[in-house]
Amino acid sequence: MRTGHAVGAMLFTTLCAALVIFPYYWMIVSSVSPASMFEWPPHLWPHTVTFDAYERIFTQRPVFVWLRNTAVVASCTAILCTIVSINAGYALSRFRGKVPGAFGVFVLLSQMLPAALIVVPLYIVFRQLGLYNALVGLAIADTAFTLPLATWLMRGFFDRIPADLEQQAQVDGCGRLAAFYRITLPLAAPGLVVVTVFSFISGWDEFFLARTLIASQDNWVLSVGLTSFESQYAIAWDEMMASSVVFAVPVAILFLFVQRYLVDGMTSGALKG
């Protein structure tokens, strides 16, 4: 009786999962079956499989350049965000008092600000500072938008490491900063990886800032380039879906490894205060 229930639940959940994952399936199918794409009714599985669209996006479209730009922005975001959030997260985890307290509130509040209002003056600031249309400028902006959650995540990881170890090291004559970098930080290595991966992904996926702060096509990132695949007559859906697969699938798999920490990080700030 009970196993019957469990199997029934599994079958129903499988049906839900199939429905949920269908857009992924359709993206991949559409990227490899260009010949049968513009037909009615659509074929739910491809009759012929061809990788033409993948070849075309790399030879006839500047996808490679956009991919490189995206990688540059995502890497810079990851490096900057990790270094900065390690220190801030450690301070939030280990110290009480006015400065850390006020900073903690500031971090929580900054997650609630409307991006649409921020980009208007940010555009002016970037024009004036010469950061407009520069990949480094975009990475700095991405860092600012990713930093609140990254700091909160890092703080959570440090909270789980007992302070006794670094206090012991301090008694043994180690400086406080040295105790942090040499004793605690290596223990927080898994957290460090999670935060690096998370900030890399948010830099990789980002569209809105890139759309606003980057002007020339040579400096576009893939998220912006993807939305430009419209020709005068028809949208090249097979190329669009092939580029989407290249853009989305590797990072989506990477994302699955860090997602459970994100849920903790997002809710702990609000639930535990």
Partner: protein, 303 residues
């Protein structure tokens, strides 16, 4: 020496301690310069008539932007659109998230694998989610039209993104598809904090499925619900990428939320000052909503 170290450690840290501010400084500078300062400058900008192409030549015009705002039918349209979109997305996302969380909270074979598959939509970049749905909703070759016609829901394929109501529906659909995994995971974490004994006690009192849900599960989710609903509403008010990439506010402003109106006013109509006024109104709405919400719900009361 040992004694000195111990007394140094047992003494409370004084305000002159340089370490915490030094560790915080880089993050503080980045967040101040790139988030806090733009917000303040955005509020200041809302009192100027600055235009995009001459962004350094704005003139102070007092409350003129706000007077124009109150008389602007596009602004009030966006207020309505924001509320409709926010409510629809929050309700759909929550409902789907809760249903799947209850389902995945049961014991079943292959639960881990199914859970991983179900959260996949959360992993996809916003732009790609939009592109896939725009293709699936295509008026001529879209697979969604095909499915709905086959199922007898539609008589003929429809042009989703050129119809005002259908475009909103499509937008809610994409947003919900992408957001429900987060809601589901948060609710699943909440479900797992409800003690098993509560269910066993209620069951021994003869409670049925519905009574269990109403008297054990629902009260147990109270703290999680409070945070999750606030998060979903605020995120939908602030969302830009999904809406901008899918409809850019169209057709005929049917999906132009306040966030999108702010962006379009700045970068399409090139009125930075007026856009800043709209954005500031949005900021005030977010703050007012959060404050009223916290008064009513008090998320921290039980946590």
């Amino acid at each position: 020496m040992g004694r000195a170290a111990i007394t140094a450690r047992s003494r409370p840290q004084r305000a002159t301690d340089w370490l915490p501010p030094a560790l915080i400084a880089p993050a503080g500078v980045i967040l101040s310069v790139l988030l806090a300062y733009p917000i303040l400058r955005g509020i200041a900008l809302s009192f100027f008539n600055t235009r995009l192409l001459r962004f350094d030549q704005g003139r102070y015009i007092g409350l003129a932007n706000y007077n124009a705002l109150i008389a602007d039918p596009n602004f009030w349209n966006s207020v309505t659109v924001t509320i409709v979109y926010g409510a629809a997305v929050t309700i759909c996302t929550y409902a789907v998230g809760l249903a799947l969380a209850l389902l995945l909270n049961r014991r079943m074979p292959a639960r881990g694998l199914l859970r991983t598959i179900i959260i996949m939509p959360w992993a996809i970049p916003d732009v790609v989610a939009v592109l896939i749905f725009v293709w699936m909703l295509d008026a001529q070759y879209g697979v969604i039209n095909y499915g709905l016609v086959e199922a007898g829901v539609l008589r003929a394929p429809v042009a989703w993104l050129s119809d005002a109501d259908l475009a909103m529906l499509a937008l809610v659909m994409v947003t919900c598809w992408q957001q429900f995994p987060l809601a589901m995971l948060i609710l699943l974490a909440g479900l797992q904090t409800i003690p098993r004994e509560l269910y066993e006690a209620a069951m021994s009192d003869g409670a049925g499925h519905w009574a269990l849900f109403r008297h054990v599960t629902w009260p147990g989710l109270r703290a999680v619900n409070a945070v999750l609903v606030l998060m979903l509403v605020l995120n939908s008010f602030r969302r830009v990428t999904t809406i901008y990439a899918m409809t850019a506010g169209g057709p005929a402003r049917a999906t132009e939320t306040l966030s999108i109106l702010t962006y379009n006013t700045a970068f399409q109509y090139q009125q930075l000052g007026y856009a800043a006024a709209i954005g500031t109104a949005l900021l005030l709405i977010l703050l007012a909503f959060s404050l009223v919400y916290m008064r009513i719900v008090r998320p921290g009361a039980e946590a």
